[in-house]
C-alpha cells in the first residue's frame, strides 16, 4: 500500500511538472500560481494492526479531496493534504502518544484549517485537548467513544469549551446498548461474558454494553480484560467455557480480536460471539479467516452503506482506484471529508477569511446531503442520526472467501430500545 502510494505520488509529481511546463509555454503559468490553497491534516494509524482499515478510511478521504480538486477546489481554494501516521512499531497498533505528537505538528502549521481522522478513540482522547487549545476541528469517520464529546468530560477533552471533535458515525453510547438489545431481543441471550481489550474504545463500548445488558435482565457471568500484545487467550476462554454463558461479547479492536476469535474457535466453537465496529473491517476479517470467523456478530455505528444504491458510484471509483473493497467506514470517511469541504466552501463564499475558527463554526452548522443521508451535528459535535447496524460473518460460497462485502452479511439495524 505504501509503495503504491509513493509511486502514485511520484507520477502525480511528474504529471504536475509536465502540466506546469506546458502551461508555462502557453503563458498561463501566472494563473496557476495565483490559486489560493488551504491544507487539511489526515491522522490515521497507517502502520500496525489497524493499517488495513485505516488505509481504507484514508482512501475515502482522498477520493473526496481529489474530486473537489478536480473541480478546481472549493470556494476558490485548492486543497492540500498533510498525512500523519499515528501507528508505531512499539505499540503494534495505534499509539495515543504518537497521535498527540502528530497533533502538535498539525497545530504548528497555520495553513491547516481542519483535520480528518482519527480512526481510533484512543487517538482521539490524546488529540482533543491539544486541538481544543488551537481551535482546530477534526472529524472522525469511525471513532465512537462517547467520553470525547460528552459535556460531562468537557474539561478534559475540550478545555476551550467549543466542540472540535465531529463525527460521521454515532457513539458507543448507542452502539454498545443497541447491541445489548439485539442480544436480548433477537439472540434471546440470558447470560453473557464480557471482555475488552484495555483500550479506550474497547473498555468504553464493553461498559456500555454491559450496563444495558444488565438493565435488560441478562446475567453478566464475568468481565475481564485482554492484553492486546499477549499471544495466548486460551486461559480466559477455558474459564468462559467452564462458566458456560449463552454468549460472549468482546469490546475491542483487531489486535486482540484476531487472536481471540481464532482461539475461541477451538475452545468455544458453538457459543454465539459478538463485538462492535472494532471487529468490522479487513484487519479482523482477513486476520481471523474462515472457518474461525464464521458466526461472529459485529456492529457499525451507522447505517450500512457499501450496498446502498446511493453509494454505487463511490464503490466503483474506490474499487477501480485502489483495487480493494471499501468498508462502510470508507464511506463515512468520504462523508466526513465532504463535511469539511462544504464548510470551507461556505466560509469562502460568505467572504470571511478561511481560518480554523471559521471552518469549525461552519462545520458546527452543517446541513449537508451525503452518501449516508443528511448530516447535521448536535452542540457536542455528535451526528444526530443514531442508527447502529448489525452484521454477521457468514461463509457465502457464491463469492470468494476473502470477499469482505459478501462474507459479512448485513442482519439489520439494532433495536434502539
Amino acid at each position: 500500500m505504501k509503495q503504491s502510494k509513493h509511486t502514485r505520488r511520484f507520477f502525480n509529481l511528474v504529471a504536475f511538472a509536465g502540466v506546469v511546463a506546458l502551461a508555462g509555454a502557453g503563458g498561463i503559468v501566472a494563473a496557476q500560481a495565483q490559486q489560493k490553497a488551504v491544507k487539511l491534516g489526515i491522522t490515521l494509524p497507517l502502520t500496525g494492526a489497524d493499517a488495513d482499515d485505516a488505509g481504507k478510511i484514508q482512501h475515502g478521504f482522498q477520493i473526496a479531496i481529489d474530486e473537489a480538486n478536480a473541480k478546481g477546489g472549493v470556494g476558490g481554494y485548492k486543497i492540500e493534504v498533510v498525512t500523519y501516521d499515528s501507528g508505531t512499531a512499539t505499540a503494534g497498533q495505534y499509539d495515543p502518544a504518537q497521535a498527540a505528537t502528530n497533533t502538535k505538528k498539525l497545530i504548528s502549521d497555520p495553513m491547516i484549517v481542519a483535520n480528518l481522522g482519527p480512526e481510533m478513540s484512543g487517538e482521539g482522547k490524546a488529540m482533543t485537548p491539544i486541538l481544543s487549545e488551537a481551535d482546530l476541528a477534526t472529524i472522525t469517520p469511525s471513532s465512537t467513544n462517547p467520553d470525547i464529546t460528552s459535556p460531562a468530560m468537557a474539561a478534559q477533552f475540550k478545555p476551550k469549551g467549543r466542540a472540535i471533535y465531529f463525527r460521521t458515525v454515532t457513539t458507543d453510547a448507542f452502539q454498545g446498548p443497541n447491541m445489548a438489545n439485539f442480544y436480548t431481543q433477537t439472540l434471546k441471550v440470558k447470560s453473557v461474558y464480557v471482555l475488552d481489550d484495555s483500550g479506550a474504545y474497547g473498555v468504553g463500548i464493553a461498559d456500555a454494553f454491559q450496563k444495558r445488558a444488565e438493565a435488560n435482565g441478562i446475567k453478566i457471568l464475568g468481565r475481564d480484560q485482554l492484553n492486546p500484545k499477549e499471544a495466548d487467550y486460551t486461559t480466559i476462554l477455558t474459564k468462559i467455557k467452564g462458566l458456560n454463558p449463552d454468549a460472549l461479547y468482546y469490546g475491542g479492536v483487531a489486535q486482540a480480536g484476531v487472536k481471540l476469535a481464532k482461539q475461541a474457535y477451538d475452545v468455544i466453537p458453538k457459543m454465539p460471539k459478538g463485538g462492535g465496529d472494532g471487529i468490522q473491517g479487513g484487519s479482523f476479517f482477513t486476520g481471523v479467516g474462515f472457518p474461525a470467523v464464521e458466526g461472529w456478530y459485529s456492529t457499525n455505528a451507522g447505517p450500512h452503506l457499501t450496498e446502498d444504491p446511493a453509494a454505487v458510484a463511490f464503490v466503483k471509483t474506490f474499487t477501480e482506484k485502489y483495487k480493494t473493497q471499501p468498508t462502510d467506514y470508507s464511506i463515512t470517511a468520504y462523508d466526513a471529508a465532504l463535511v469539511v469541504l462544504d464548510a470551507i466552501r461556505r466560509v469562502a463564499e460568505s467572504g470571511k477569511p478561511v481560518t480554523r475558527t471559521s471552518v469549525r463554526d461552519a462545520m458546527q452548522t452543517t446541513n449537508l446531503k451525503t452518501l449516508q443521508g443528511e448530516i447535521s451535528f448536535d452542540e457536542n459535535g455528535d451526528i444526530k442520526d443514531h442508527t447502529v447496524s448489525v452484521f454477521q460473518y457468514k461463509r457465502d460460497a457464491k463469492y470468494p472467501a476473502d470477499d469482505y462485502t459478501h462474507q459479512n452479511a448485513y442482519i439489520g439495524t439494532a433495536p434502539q430500545s
Partner: protein
C-alpha cells in the same frame, strides 16, 4: 465442566505455554551463561523464525489449515520445516554474533547489550516493513485430532509442542554435558582466559552458542505458529518478556533453571487467569519474580556459573 476438568484443562494450557517459554528461555540463558550477555535480539530471532517456517510451509504448498496430512508425511513435513527453520535462524544468530557482537567482546559496560537491542529493532522493523503489520494466518497441516479426558481436551498440537520441547531440551542437555564442544562451552563459561590457555577456540565456542540458541528460538517460532495458527511481527515482545522472566526466575545462565522457570510462569499464567483475573496476570508473574529474587537473588536453581570477580 466440573471444576476438576477446568483445573486439568488449565494445567494443560499452562504446561503448553510453559513449554514455549522454556524453549525460548533456553537459548537466551545459554548465551548469558557463556558470555554474560543479555541478548535482546533473541526474541526477534524467534519472531523471524516463525515467518521463515511459514514461508517454507507455503513453498511446500501449504496455505491455511485446509490441507491435512497424517502419519509419516505429516512427521516428514514438520521435521523438514523444523530443521530448515532451525538452520536458518541458527545462521542468523551466528551472523549477528560474528558481525555485530564479536568486535565488542570485552568492551566494557553495556555496549554489547545495547547493540543487541539495536539488532532486535532492525529485525523487528525489517519484518514489519516487508510483510506488513496484520496478523498472518499460519499454514498448518496437522489434523484436528483431540482426546477428551473428562471434559478437558488434549489436542494433537499440545502433544507436538510438548514432545518437541522435551526432545530439544534433552538434546541440548546431552550436547552441553557430553560432547567435546559442550565441555568447551562449560569451560568458556567458567573462565574464558583459562579456557583459551587450555586450547579452547573461544570465538568458535561463542559462535556455536549463538547458533544453537538461535536455532532453538527458530524452533520455538515454528511451534508458536502451529500452536496458535497465526504469526505477526509483534510476537517476540510478550513471549520474549515472559521467557526473559522465566530465565531470571530459574536462575540466569542455568539451563534446567530456564526450563523450570518457563514451566512455572506458564502455570502461573493459566491458573492465575482461571482463579483470579487475566488482567492481573502480569502483576502476579512479576510479584512472584520479585519475591523469588528477594529471597533467592540467584533465582530458584541458582546460577550454574560462578560469578567472575
Amino acid at each position: 465442566m466440573s471444576s476438576w476438568d477446568i483445573l486439568l484443562q488449565q494445567i494443560i494450557n499452562g504446561v503448553s505455554l510453559g513449554a514455549m517459554y522454556s524453549l525460548l528461555a533456553l537459548g537466551f540463558t545459554m548465551v548469558y551463561g557463556i558470555i554474560e550477555l543479555i541478548n535482546f535480539a533473541h526474541f526477534n530471532v524467534f519472531m523471524v523464525g516463525s515467518f521463515i517456517a511459514l514461508w517454507m510451509m507455503q513453498a511446500l504448498g501449504f496455505v491455511g489449515q485446509a490441507e491435512v496430512l497424517y502419519g509419516l508425511p505429516l512427521v516428514g513435513v514438520l521435521l523438514l520445516v523444523l530443521v530448515g527453520t532451525m538452520l536458518c535462524t541458527g545462521a542468523i544468530g551466528a551472523f549477528i554474533e560474528r558481525y555485530g557482537l564479536r568486535a565488542l567482546r570485552g568492551a566494557s559496560g553495556t555496549a554489547p547489550m545495547i547493540t543487541t537491542i539495536g539488532i532486535s529493532y532492525i529485525l523487528f522493523n525489517l519484518v514489519l516493513l516487508s510483510v506488513g503489520a496484520e496478523s498472518k494466518n499460519y499454514a498448518n497441516p496437522m489434523p484436528p485430532l483431540r482426546w477428551e479426558i473428562g471434559e478437558a481436551v488434549l489436542r494433537l498440537r499440545e502433544v507436538l509442542l510438548w514432545s518437541v520441547s522435551i526432545l530439544l531440551m534433552f538434546a541440548l542437555h546431552y550436547f552441553v554435558r557430553r560432547t567435546k564442544m559442550g565441555k568447551a562451552m562449560q569451560a568458556t563459561a567458567q573462565d574464558q582466559e583459562a579456557a583459551r590457555m587450555m586450547g579452547v577456540d573461544v570465538d568458535r565456542v561463542v559462535l556455536i552458542t549463538f547458533f544453537l540458541g538461535s536455532a532453538l528460538a527458530g524452533a520455538a517460532g515454528f511451534i508458536f505458529g502451529l500452536y496458535y495458527n497465526y504469526t505477526s511481527f509483534i510476537i517476540g515482545y510478550t513471549a520474549g518478556l515472559r521467557a526473559f522472566t522465566a530465565a531470571v526466575l530459574g536462575g540466569i545462565g542455568n539451563l534446567p533453571g530456564a526450563m523450570l522457570g518457563g514451566l512455572l510462569i506458564g502455570l502461573i499464567e493459566s491458573l492465575g487467569g482461571q482463579y483470579l483475573q487475566v488482567r492481573w496476570t502480569d502483576v502476579i508473574i512479576f510479584s512472584i519474580l520479585v519475591m523469588v529474587l528477594v529471597f533467592r537473588p540467584t533465582g530458584l536453581l541458582g546460577r550454574a556459573v560462578p560469578t567472575k570477580s
